[in-house]
Amino acid sequence: MRTTLSAADFVAMFHLVADRIEEEKVRLSELDGVIGDGDHGITMAIGWNAVREILTPELEEKSITDVCNLVARTFLNAVGASSGPLYATALMRGGAALKGREGADGAALAGFLAAALQGLRDRGKAEPGDKTMIDAWTPAATAAAAAAEAGALPAEVLRAAAEAAGKGADATAAMLPKKGRSAKLGERALGHVDPGAASAAVILAAMADGAARP
């Protein structure tokens, strides 16, 4: 397993994210159909498919920061819904955290995730417990930091994050929504997983798999 991830690795990871989101599209939209407007899967797929288009081999020559910025801009242009500006911010901030680095080690990956989370929070102003993607990203960043602290490799850091995100997403079923479209449903949303939290787990799992490739 790699000790550091290069720009090419990031390109590969984002490729895998695009594939996984496409596979999970229907499930994510169904989740959004219960407590939102039913477009989350489609929205995310539109965004990540647009990203796939620009993930060309030439990109591997650029810096990790440049890759993240380009992915962010592309996702934003393709997606109008809340997720557009949210993920664009997360990716830009994550990319900025890796500025100047040739390769990212475990600690850098943890920093990437922490910056991405901070971007989501600054942009969306949601708090943990509001039943949003923040409830997946917050435990993910915490788990990543702990793993990095313990000396984990990038793929292991991402794996820890993905697992924590999955648990975090499951936990949103018990939460009352306070942000986004589902907020007006109130108690009717109880018992249902937040689609944005679910897709966060998908994204992080795909990144972990991408980082673990031989």
Binding site: L76, G80, S82, P85, M92
Partner: protein, 332 residues
């Protein structure tokens, strides 16, 4: 649904074209739904740009407030939908010079996300840029925390205050300061007698009974605090004003501006009757209204109803409200 439109898809572009065609002091950007002052000085001579916007359906906001002494640009999204980050960024690039830009944003998730990110990207490009959030809706004061309140008609006061500060040549920092301070001193609450119909949907968003009203609803038809019985205009004004007064903790020593705002389908006669009731109640409570206006300032498509806004004044704010502007929708 009967509306004076051509195609539900084209309403925003066509509306902006109609506005700009009648306003020699406005222009519309080629590729984005952005209305800007015309002409603009050379970038290095520009004062701080004031940009606002949001979903369409709130006319005359926001294009009606573009003009000398008020907004520099207005960004229009689809009906009740935030404009994209790109549209906002285009507006910043189009009108901001080295003095930078202040984005006056009504507190809705979509607007906050897109204006906020555009500001960040503008800063990354070297354009100083700050966001001022307006969250003046006091209706949900007991159910949501202050930072989560919606931005509604009182936003127009912030446009005027920020616009006057920029016109006076104040720095970005100073403009942000007076605009934020103003936003904190404004309270608004509305009442709807009926729903509104989105052009692309064709049916009203909700229905109210023959004598039902919705108190404290949002400008997109979002639910309010209470669905209640219709009552006299003066009673409604009283209920709304008392809520605002208590929320802003307004005292007899405070100086006030009042805005009586129609939600789109309310005729001027009714608004004037509400204004009379509002002014009478404020007088009764011993409060001093130094400026007041009635009209359709920030609507909710074709919703029948109105909102009242109170704004705490000082000499500087009075001067800012009084400052001449050629923005079409700011009253004389």
């Amino acid at each position: 649904m009967k509306k004076l439109i051509n195609s539900p898809k084209a309403v925003v572009r066509e509306m902006l074209e109609g506005i700009v065609a009648q306003a020699p002091n406005l222009a519309i950007l080629d590729k984005e739904m952005v209305v800007v002052r015309n002409p603009l000085p050379a970038p290095e001579k520009r004062k701080v740009a004031i940009i606002s916007g949001g979903g369409s359906g709130h006319e005359p906001a926001h294009a009606g407030y573009v003009g000398q002494g008020m907004l520099t640009a207005a960004v229009a999204g689809d009906v009740f939908t935030s404009p994209s980050t790109d549209a906002v960024l285009s507006s910043i690039r189009a009108v901001a010079g080295p003095a930078g830009a202040v984005l006056v944003v009504k507190n809705y998730t979509g607007d906050r996300l897109n204006f906020g990110l555009a500001a960040e990207m503008a800063r990354a490009e070297g354009i100083p840029c700050e966001v001022v959030l307006v969250a003046d809706d006091v209706a949900l004061r007991n159910t949501v925390e202050k930072g989560r309140r919606r931005g509604i008609a009182g936003t127009v006061f912030v446009h005027k205050i920020a616009g006057a500060a920029a016109e006076a040549g104040k720095s970005l920092e100073e403009v942000v300061k007076v605009a934020n301070a103003a936003a904190a001193d404004i309270g608004t609450m509305g009442v709807a007698l009926g729903s509104c119909t989105l052009p692309a949907v064709g049916k009203p968003g909700f229905t109210l009974g023959e004598t039902e009203i919705e108190l404290g609803l949002g400008i997109h038809g979002e639910a309010g605090v209470e669905r209640g019985e219709m009552r006299e205009a003066s009673e409604l004004a009283k209920t709304i004003l008392d809520t605002i007064i208590s929320d802003l903790d307004i005292k007899p020593t405070d100086r006030l501006a009042l805005l009586v705002n129609g939600l789109g389908a309310t005729p001027p006669m009714e608004l004037s009757i509400v204004a009379r009731g509002a002014l009478a109640h404020l007088r009764e409570r011993g409060l001093k209204v130094e400026r007041s206006w009635t009209g359709t300032f920030l609507s909710a498509l074709d919703m029948p109803g109105c909102s009242l806004s109170l704004f705490k004044l000082d000499d500087a704010r009075v001067a800012a409200l009084d400052l001449e502007t050629d923005a079409m929708a700011w009253p004389r």
